[in-house]
Amino acid sequence: MIMTTVRAWLMGGAVALVLGAPLAAQTSNAERAVPRAANGKPDLSGIWVATGAIMLFEGQEAFAAARAADAAAGRPPGNTGEAPPYKPEAEAQRQYFLSRQGIDDPMARCLLTGVPRITFRPLPFEIVQLADRVIMLYEIHHAFRIIPTDGRPHPEDAEPSYLGESIGRWDGDTFVVDVTSFNTNTWLTGVGTIHTEDLRVTERYTRDSFDTIRYEVTMEDPAVLTRPWTLRETLRLRPGERIREYECIESNEDIQRFERLLQESRATERSQ
């Protein structure tokens, strides 16, 4: 048995030596098992980007290939364009913001992007999975989330905040994050996607292959939504990537431009 294993290993090594690097490349991540942490749960650690970012990182062809790979693997398509299920009054507000082409976007003023919008931004983020917490380090806005997984409840003194308060737990092989205590300075994702302080976000991260995480996020906010709103996206591992610096305020000319456009818009509204 041992000899068989050794022989197989030696033969594999010989083949690899003959074929060289191309073989190593071909047998890379797609065939690798999902790594496991010491507690047996999938290890989400690594640097990831939403599939939408592949367009920017590698171009249209790679983006199309990623979407095709998702379809072949039975992963749900990201960004279906489905309208959020807003109540009429909230939907009217969203349409108003859309009509103004996004100049009211809190992100354009460099305010911290909330959950889940930060996951969909086209910059990578790193997940560091530890025994008692999961840390998410986002390139955009130098943002981070520390998500306890030791069973503690949400803190009682939580202040409303941009990224909210996150508590994590495992549901089988899926990492589930419950996020509460949001302020109202963020949009959920997309222009005009308003919410109240009662927003509750549930994120589900399932590493279904070495290279991918199925991300499913459900937003509940009965004051503005008619029902829970669920979005899905595939997060992709970026081997060799590292988190770099992205600073929003240095020369963000949108702040002045949009302020000018806002003033013009207000003046037009007053004159009507």
Binding site: L56, D105, M107, E245, N252, D254
Partner: protein
Amino acid sequence: MRRPALLLVLVSSLLAARLAAAHHSFAAYFDGQKAVTLTGEVAGVEWTNPHFHFSIDVKDEAGAVTRWRFEGFPPNMLVRQGWQRDVTLTPGATITVEGWAARSEPNAGAARWVTLADGRKLAAGPPAGTGGR
């Protein structure tokens, strides 16, 4: 007023159909239906966040020069696309920029591609209407 010899190309409705709100709401300031391709001499480079800017002097057939200013990726993305600060884009070099013009500000645009004098074509900014939700 002399019109600079610009290649002002209206993009097809196929591309226009894909346009939507982008990074910092592209649509509020730039016009995704006003594609421009300009060749000129690099006049300046600002390697800054959250966008880098550069300007080029574009000469028309009569020799009149118009300075265009473009906005593009932040440095973190430029480096991922193969750019090097102070090396890739240097004042005086002749480059070709493909991108989109601003809605109202004259001679301003968002850069998508830059073709360098040595023929290399590098992504300089996001496509109009993409870049996350």
